[in-house]
Amino acid sequence: MIKFINVNKKFSDACIPLKNINLEISRGEVVVICGPSGAGKSTLIRVINKLETIDSGEIIVDGMHLSDPKTNLTALRAETGMVFQQLNLYPHKTALKNIMLAPMKVRKLPMKEAEEKAMKLLEKVGLAHKYNSYPSQLSGGEQQRVAIARSLAMEPKIMLFDEPTSALDPELINEVLDVMISLAEEGMTMIVVTHEMAFAQRVASRVVFMDFGEILEIGKTPDIFVDPQHYRTKEFMSNILHAPVFCYNEPQKK
């Protein structure tokens, strides 16, 4: 579905470089990318829908070669939905209109159909009753759920999540993760940059650990937590999992 072949990206002022990325993600797979900040996680998923360009190598997304100038960028971006870290619903539009915009303009759906579809998606993320609210009237978690619905409205084959919960209050994180988990269970191909390890354990088939713009380790889900190979992964996992405290407070809850 997505294939990175020797992808390199040189350093530029806006962007963290990538070094020799080789990664293949198959249909229906959920891959979690983790690593310290500045590791190139966001860059890695931003190159997939060409928000950033790469310097060498090749990325193939659902048969489309990204370095080929003939590749239809609109088609590519319609296939890959993306949810960002920042809360970025269009502030001048209601939740419903936020979702309807792209299907109407890019897919040329008639108003009526777009509206029905948007309502269905809002129901799916549990916000049908808020269809007429402006983003300012929604909580951070609700905004992020509408943002997920907005990406889904283009019926993408792949969903990219760039730390969707890290701008949220801790209390609001779970409602967003629940939506993502149900998506994963429906068989959506997902690449998720996140530090929510409970989420990774539950739905991810593989976890990619990155640092310095390189993939240091790719592991199947339980293994990479229990028995990381690379010393950086070991360090990172022990730092973010807070193992002793975790066990003391919630013995074996997961």
């Binding site: 890959t80 502030p91 303009k105």
Partner: protein
């Protein structure tokens, strides 16, 4: 006097539109990817914003026809409405330099993530601007743009210096011909104040109308 009001309104409406158009072009130049365009955009703003509007009126009235080829310049000088044309050009180039900066600040006020999310859902450049960026820009720049238009309205009185028969000129004429300066000036004052206040009221109404969206913008930026 009535003609004066008409000419003033004409100047206001025409220069507001032309300066908005010219200002948009300059703003686009200043945010262009091409270095030369950026340079000339910046040059334009610095030149026209740092020289008084009255100077530009005089320039277009006296100097501009002489810069043109001889025949064309003479024709312009002979054209009876040329003062009005010169006034429109002078006010436009002056006001456009401010307008372009207001537009640019409006564009910069929108977080880049808005554009990115529009791209990632497949909208093309025109659609990004039409449906995502311009509506937000409009809300952000409404107060400064409105103030600028009121300034522009007041600047129309400068056009009396190049014999445009607008309101202030008419007032002066009445004063010097009939010595009824008090009455004429009072009427002109009332008109200026009334129209300025009317413009401000319209701006405030528009701001109120779009209020929900403005408050949410500041929230979105706060993240």
């Amino acid at each position: 006097m009535v003609t004066g009001v008409k000419i003033t309104l004409l100047l206001l409406v025409v220069t507001s539109i032309t300066s908005l158009c010219l200002g948009t072009v300059i703003a686009i130049m200043r945010m262009s990817r091409i270095r030369t365009l950026r340079f000339f955009g910046k040059l334009y703003v610095e030149i026209f914003r740092n020289i008084p509007g009255l100077f530009w009126l005089l320039f277009f009235y006296f100097v501009f026809p002489e810069l043109l080829p001889y025949g064309l310049g003479n024709k312009l000088n002979a054209y009876e409405n040329y003062p009005i044309v010169a006034a429109i050009m002078g006010l436009t180039v002056d006001n456009a330099s401010y307008v372009s900066d207001i537009l640019r600040s409006g564009r910069l006020a929108i977080p880049d993530s808005q554009r990115e999310v529009a791209i990632s859902t497949g909208l093309n450049r025109v659609q990004q601007y039409l449906h995502v960026l311009l509506p937000q820009m409009f809300r952000a720049i409404l107060p400064p743009l409105g103030t600028r238009m009121v300034h522009n309205f007041k600047n129309t009185s400068l056009c009396m210096a190049i014999t445009v028969p607008e309101l202030t000129w008419a007032t002066q004429q009445i004063e010097s011909l009939t010595f009824r300066g008090l009455e004429a000036t009072t009427i002109a004052t009332v008109f200026y104040i009334a129209l300025s206040l009317f413009m401000v009221a319209v701006i405030i109404m528009l701001e109120k109308y779009y209020k929900i969206s403005i408050s949410s913008m500041t929230q979105a930026k706060g993240r």
